[in-house]
């Protein structure tokens, strides 16, 4: 099943008359169950592409179908609704609410669901179980280590059972061991059927994915499967 169909996507930022082309002519499709890394150096347009795919921004040209729906024609409220039901985000800086428990952080997307959810507690605990963080549910987010914070953020991305999880440099603020643990979780989620789009500038991290889209100066320069996939084990070690 095709989740994402992008045709000739482009984005031009207009900053007081100064136009910058951040993305040009990006066309590709992503199937359900894929683990795709979008890779490139700073300024390559990978973050712009992720924002458009994640419905945080609109393209200035081209078409984008998410689950066969033309999202470029949606209103802001409809986009918010799509983000809530179809997309989970994991950010480099975790973006957990301070002075708020892990449970409440993970619960956040459920609060904005259109339909009141009855089994909130079960769903939050299930998401925390998936990232092995149940025992920290009622700790405050600022009491967690960096790796734990990112796992809590992954649980938050999972809790509404989205079609796609976007991970924007998820290991960028972590030491290598914690980073590998996060990649292990993402791989495990992908094995169990989740579709994951990873944005990174590190080749090592990108090679955990099954497919890499490489970008440079706003254009896709290559799109190929990973031949030598890296795997992390539960001890936070690499196994090829």
């Amino acid at each position: 099943m095709t989740l994402i169909t992008a045709k000739n996507l482009s984005k031009i930022y207009d900053n007081e008359g100064v136009k910058t082309q951040a993305l040009a002519d990006a066309s590709f499709s992503i199937e359900k169950g894929e683990f795709v890394a979008i890779m490139g150096p700073s300024g390559s347009g990978k973050s712009t592409l992720m924002q458009i795919l994640g419905l945080l921004d609109r393209p200035t040209g081209g078409t984008y179908f998410l689950k066969d729906k033309d999202v470029s024609k949606m209103t802001d409220d409809e986009l918010a609704q799509m983000r809530n039901s179809e997309i989970g985000f994991v950010f480099q800086a975790f973006n957990l609410l301070p002075r708020t428990t892990v449970f409440e952080n993970v619960e956040l997307p459920l609060l904005y669901d259109e339909h009141p959810i009855k089994d909130t507690k079960e769903r939050v605990m299930e998401a925390l179980r998936a990232v092995n963080l149940e025992h920290r549910a009622f700790y405050y987010s600022n009491q967690l280590s960096g790796g734990e914070k990112q796992r809590a953020a992954i649980a938050r991305a999972l809790v509404n059972d989205p079609a796609i999880i976007f991970a924007d440099e998820p290991t960028g603020n972590l030491d290598s061991k914690s980073g590998l643990q996060v990649m292990l979780i993402l791989q495990a989620l992908n094995e169990s059927g989740a579709t994951i789009i990873l944005v990174t500038h590190e080749t090592d991290t990108a090679e955990h994915a099954k497919r890499i889209i490489r970008m440079l100066d706003g254009r896709i320069v290559s799109d190929e499967l990973v031949a030598n996939r890296q795997f992390a084990n539960s001890k936070g070690e690499l196994t090829k």
Partner: protein, 413 residues
């Protein structure tokens, strides 16, 4: 989203910044408490003033020398001495056939002089009055007697003391029967009045009274009256009596039809109306000033919410990323400001009532007949206005928060 969720989110955000939350609430507490205090104390003060006038009696008519505008103060009240109101006028007013509804009328002159007992020498205010004065003013004699009818005009050297004055001059024994020197003239104390209680502006218990002509001729050297007060048999006859008095005095003063009266006749009821309108204006003026503090509290809320928006810009971005719509963000911030004002309003009401109560205890301790009042309208006004202010001043920060661009917010450091 459950109904309780936005409230929980707002509560969590507020307690996360406790000091700012506390100070913002305090601004509203002070505003609401000020409104309630001003309105409560204002209503009590108005009640005090009006009750003092009512105590004198709503069936009284005052006759003052000097012309006046219908609504303005009489000339005598402005310190202008008019000498056209004489004792003969008083005698004429007493005649039943010209003014049938007066049951009692007393002339008054006022002054001050030194009174000496064996132990004390004090400067006191005195009134020269007719024997009917105690009936007109509805006063009881505590000890001894008041003046006999013939004493009004036979220059008797008799004196009646207010209760406080009697106790000061003769602390260890009864004043009745004692002799005092009043303006160096020996006077015999014939009576002591019962306690009347202090009024807003004076204390009648410290006054001393002498017969009318004694005061005019022996003490003041004048032949006119400062004013007269008459009691009417029925409140329904007040207007008739005013007309009778005016007719009689105009005739006696030989005034032509187009000439202005050289006296004014006022009923206590009319004075009450004037006093009520004056005190109402004062009350509303004070209320307007107190409301300013609510406005300041509202600006405090806006300031605090704007700080909150800029401090929580990443949080707003995150909420939008996970599906919050602008209306959710607006609602969250509006609930926060409404929560601040509700809490401030409730605490302000409690504080306002408390302070008004404390003020009433202090004022009562000072000897005033003060009634502890909290007008219901002040509670509704204080709370309602603060809630409206919270929402009005919360709207701009809330809209600002809802317009935060998600990606920029998430990258905000």
């Amino acid at each position: 989203m459950r109904y309780s969720d936005p409230i929980r989110i707002a509560y969590n955000s507020l307690v996360a910044a406790k000091l700012r939350f506390f100070l913002t609430v305090l601004g509203i507490v002070i505003g609401v408490a000020a409104v309630i205090m001003v309105m409560g104390i204002g209503a009590s003060a108005q009640g005090l003033v009006l009750s003092q006038v009512k105590k004198v009696g709503s069936d009284l008519i005052g006759i003052l020398p000097g012309a006046s505008e219908e609504e303005g103060a009489p000339a005598s009240a402005l310190g202008i001495v008019t000498t056209t109101f004489k004792n003969d006028d008083l005698k004429a007013l007493r005649e039943r056939r010209s003014v049938p509804h007066f049951t009692a009328i007393s002339g008054y002159v006022t002054g001050s002089a030194t009174i000496e007992s064996a132990r004390e020498s004090e400067s006191v205010s005195f009134q020269g009055v007719s024997p009917e004065m105690i009936e007109v003013e509805n006063i009881q004699v505590a000890e001894g007697r008041f003046f006999f009818p013939e004493e009004e005009s036979n220059l008797s050297r008799v004196i009646v003391l207010g209760s406080t004055r009697a106790a000061e001059l003769f602390p260890d024994r009864s004043a009745v029967g004692e002799t005092v020197r009043f303006k160096d003239i020996p006077f015999k104390v014939v009576g002591v009045l019962e306690e009347r209680g202090s009024t807003a502006f004076s204390n009648p218990d410290t006054l001393v009274y002498v017969p009318l002509e004694t005061a005019q001729k022996l003490l003041l050297g004048i032949d006119y009256l400062n004013f007269a007060r008459g009691k009417v048999d029925d409140v329904a006859h007040i207007d008739q009596t005013i007309a009778d008095v005016e007719e009689l005095l105009r005739k006696r003063h030989d005034l032509e039809d187009d000439e202005e009266s050289d006296f004014s006749v006022r009923s206590t009821a009319a004075a009450l109306d004037v006093l009520t309108s004056i005190t109402d204006v004062l009350k509303y003026f004070l209320m307007a000033i107190a409301s300013l503090s609510l406005l300041v509290g509202g600006i405090g809320i806006m300031n605090s919410m704007l700080i909150s928006v800029s401090q929580r810009i990443r949080e707003i971005g995150l909420r939008k990323a996970v599906g919050a719509r602008p209306k959710h963000i607006i609602r969250q911030f509006l609930i926060e400001s409404a929560f601040i004002t509700c809490l401030g309003g409730i605490l302000g009401i409690i504080l306002g009532i408390g302070l008004t109560f404390v003020a009433s205890i202090i004022i009562k301790a000072l000897g005033y007949e003060w009634e502890f009042l909290v007008p219901l309208i002040s509670l509704a006004l204080g709370f309602g206005v603060s809630l409206v202010i919270g929402i009005v001043f919360g709207i701009y920060p809330a809209i600002k928060a809802s317009r935060v661009t998600t990606m920029e917010a998430l990258r905000y450091e």
